[in-house]
């Protein structure tokens, strides 16, 4: 769902443990510290070369403005002050925020529902169901958007054809009013299964004794789910939400494919990421594009942080 699909990655729901690992790890003292550095060195070197250096370079780059006339000028933070007051960027940020509010709760609710159903033991064909829902994750987002673009097609798409057959008119999925929802559906289709698998894995990790106690008390499957499983899933849900914040705010591939179908609805600044791309590759404003990307990065970090704070506070109270 993002430009580089970083959010498509495995994890288990134990985020809480990283922050407060009380237990002593295997190695202590300087002797073992050296081995620790050696173990992490290959990753850190590769990460530094492939990610950190370009990142720092981009940050440096964002302090300049290269002009067609007059060449390269050092402008300090001017690109950033411009970004914070750029109506096109703010509009795009508003749009992806709305997208997040519309799409993510629904996607996670369904993912949770599916995971609980799989875990409940009430289901026949559980394996088939699990694979069927997860399968869209294997489809490149470019191909996914292409397929849905066909399905949405106003004249030749099967939805329009069906509606036509029963004498109705299909809604204009590619029109200005429904476009955001149409994109939300594509993202829902791609990532519900992924989130379901993560939540399902977390569910399987809940110790059996807790269930046994509940079933001795005579609690039914739904009550067990509501009062035992969901509270225990909180860290996993928080993590999925944070990935979804990143995914939503970095939305790029889907709108970029849909743009060819509805160029007047999906304008160049439809999402901040699309805006940054067009600034760089159409307008040749490479430096400003880098600044816009960093602003987007800050917004995502701030958003994730606020979200974590909010959920932590609520869990304490």
């Amino acid at each position: 769902m993002t430009a580089d699909t970083t959010s498509k990655a495995p994890l288990t729901p134990r985020i809480g443990r990283i922050a407060k690992r009380g237990k002593a790890a295997g190695g202590k003292g300087p002797r073992y510290a050296k081995a620790g550095y050696l173990f992490v060195a290959p990753f850190m070197i590769a990460f530094t070369a492939m990610f950190l250096v370009p990142l720092l370079y981009a940050a440096w780059f964002s302090l300049f403005r290269e002009q067609m006339i007059g060449g390269n000028v050092f402008v300090g933070l001017e690109n950033y002050t411009r970004a914070f007051t750029d109506p096109l960027l703010l509009e795009g940020l508003g749009r992806v925020a709305l997208f997040f509010l519309l799409q993510v709760p629904l996607m996670l609710a369904f993912a949770l529902l599916f995971a609980l159903a799989l875990d409940s033991g009430l289901l026949r064909l559980a394996k088939t169901v699990r694979l069927g829902i997860f399968l869209p994750y294997a489809v490149p987002s470019v191909v996914a958007a292409l397929m849905w673009g066909f399905l949405y097609g106003p004249d030749f798409g099967p939805i329009a054809q069906l509606a036509d057959r029963i004498g109705a008119t299909a809604p204009d999925f590619l029109g200005a009013d429904l476009m955001l929802g149409s994109i939300a559906n594509i993202v829902f289709w791609e990532f519900t299964g992924y989130n379901m698998i993560l939540l399902y894995a977390a569910l399987r990790a809940i110790p059996t004794e807790l269930y046994e106690a509940a079933s001795v008390d005579g609690a039914g499957a739904w009550r067990t789910a509501w009062s035992i499983k969901i509270p225990l899933l909180r860290p996993a849900i928080v993590l999925c939400s944070i990935f979804s914040i990143i995914g939503s705010f970095q939305l790029f591939n889907e709108p970029s494919v849909m743009r060819t179908l509805a160029p007047n609805v999906i304008v160049a600044d439809y999402t901040p990421n699309l805006y940054a791309y067009n600034l760089a590759f159409v307008g040749q404003e490479y430096n400003y594009a880098a600044a816009v990307s960093f602003v987007l990065g800050f917004v995502i970090m701030a958003g994730s942080y606020v979200f974590m704070l909010a959920t932590n506070r609520r869990s304490r109270s």
Binding site: Y57, W60, F61, F64, R65, E66, Q67, M68, I69, G70, G71, N72, F150, G153, P154, D155, F156, A176, T260, L261, A262, P263, N264, V267, A268, D269, N278, F281, V282, G283, Q284, E285, Y286, N287, Y288
Partner: protein, 449 residues
């Protein structure tokens, strides 16, 4: 190889500053005053590999002719992407200072965007100055700079005309409109007679078509711009006339607004949703392949006119071959760019096999080309129609130095306003404001009128 053309590779410590990656990162070829025939002969007998980026299908034919004429030169053809993706790749490679092609296909409207950033090789010293007489005037004007530089060699053009469905016209008693007024009346009459059919489709994000329309109406929004001085006039009377004309027809609902070259648009053309396609000279053969099911029903005519009795048109599309000044082989690249676009056999193949509409006077007057009768158009000599239109294109039209940005801003302002029934004439001012702001960020001195 002449040491003057040697590429300097001062890229070593380029990391130190972003400056190093940009303007100062490398030294492009400084074209000499004149290159002697002896130097050219020597270069053309030196084994050389040239990189040529283009998305013209079947261009290998022209390349083969060149390689036959100059057996020591090999040309690698790359189709990396079309349109915007093609230019994005070229620009990033040019910025990096390596990996860019020697020669590339560049559409007319983007030639200035590469010359303003000093990326093009002036082809005059390599014999291109003498080619002026071979090309149609308005075409040559598109590739030459303010000081007479020749920035690229024209490959094909797209004077704007009209293709229409003679069967639909006859069925509803519509005369071929010669003025825009008559065209508007016909649009209303036709849509009323058959609500499934529109006289034409106005693609609201197609900046290139809109520019061509402005061109025809006599607007020259960037006329008089020179280097760092940019003139912008998108609110002229002519621009307002074109804008309100289309905005009104769309608002009345008698013209459709599908995005062109989309699946939906292809299907609609096949189904007979549009009774005309206002298109360029490359359109007729294109339509013949994409709307094969409507063969025999189409005819070609000149564009409707703003003033009865006059004959003027604009241009939509067409490409050139340009040489980038980072090339290590300027002579070979320049000769190649000239050869494929001027060699009689090569240009003839372009016109008759690849159906690129020719910019050379010789071909436009060649009876074999103009006399071609197309079955799809009921045996009409379509090339002749467009060859005549080509003569009516005004040479008074100047591109901005960042025409892709101009098109993008058009789609976001005027195009959207027309499609959504907002005040499109007011949107012309938004369009101009966006461009002026952009230009100022790019260091231009902007003069609005």
């Amino acid at each position: 190889m002449n040491p003057r053309f040697r590429r300097r590779t001062g890229l070593g410590a380029a990391l130190a500053s972003p400056l190093a990656f940009t303007a100062c990162g490398r030294t492009p070829v400084q074209p000499p005053e004149h290159v002697s025939q002896a130097e050219i002969d020597e270069a053309m007998h030196t084994p050389t590999e040239l990189d040529f980026w283009t998305w013209v299908p079947g261009i290998e034919k022209q390349v083969a002719l060149f390689e036959e004429a100059y057996p020591d030169i090999t040309v690698d053809v790359t189709n990396a992407a079309q349109g915007a993706g093609h230019y994005a790749k070229i620009r990033t490679a040019l910025r990096a200072g390596r990996g860019a092609p020697d020669v590339a296909q560049v559409e007319f409207q983007l030639v200035p965007s590469f010359s303003i950033t000093n990326h093009l090789l002036d082809l005059r010293p390599y014999g291109a100055g003498e080619l002026e007489d071979r090309f149609v005037d308005w075409v040559w004007a598109q590739v030459t700079g303010a000081n007479g530089e020749v920035w690229a060699i024209p490959q094909d053009t797209g004077p704007l005309g009209m293709l229409y469905r003679t069967d639909l016209f006859e069925a509803h008693g519509i005369e071929v409109p010669e003025t825009w007024e008559a065209f508007a009346d016909a649009a209303r009459a036709l849509h009323e007679a058959d609500p499934e059919v529109y006289l034409t489709n106005f693609p609201p994000s197609q900046g290139a078509f809109f520019s061509a329309s402005l061109w025809q109406a006599g607007a020259d929004p960037f006329g008089g711009s020179d280097g760092p001085d940019l003139k912008v006039d998108l609110t002229s009377e002519a621009a307002q006339r074109v804008t309100s004309y289309w905005a009104d027809l769309v608002a009345e609902g008698v013209v459709s607004t599908d995005p062109d070259f989309s699946d939906q648009w292809y299907q609609a053309a096949n189904r007979g949703k549009y009774a005309t396609w206002l298109t360029a000279a490359w359109g007729p053969v294109f339509l013949q392949d994409t709307a094969a099911s409507t063969s025999g029903k189409w005819r070609a005519a000149p564009l409707p006119q703003w003033e009865a009795g006059s004959q003027v048109s604009g241009n939509w599309g067409g490409s050139t071959s340009a040489v980038f000044n980072i090339t290590e082989h300027p002579i070979q690249a320049a000769v190649f760019a000239q050869f494929i676009n001027t060699d009689p056999e090569s240009t003839k193949a372009m016109a008759t096999e690849q159906y690129l509409f020719p910019p050379t006077k010789a071909l436009l007057e060649d009876p074999e080309f103009t006399g071609l009768e197309l079955e799809f158009y009921g045996g009409q000599r379509v090339n002749e129609v467009f060859a005549q239109i080509s003569e009516t294109v005004s040479p008074e039209f100047q591109w901005s130095p960042f025409q892709d940005q101009v098109y993008a801003d058009y789609g976001a302002t005027v195009g959207t306003a027309i499609a959504e029934g907002a005040d499109a004439v007011a949107a012309l001012q938004d369009w101009q404001d966006r461009i002026a702001e952009y230009a100022e960020f790019q260091g231009f001195t902007v003069e609005e009128s």
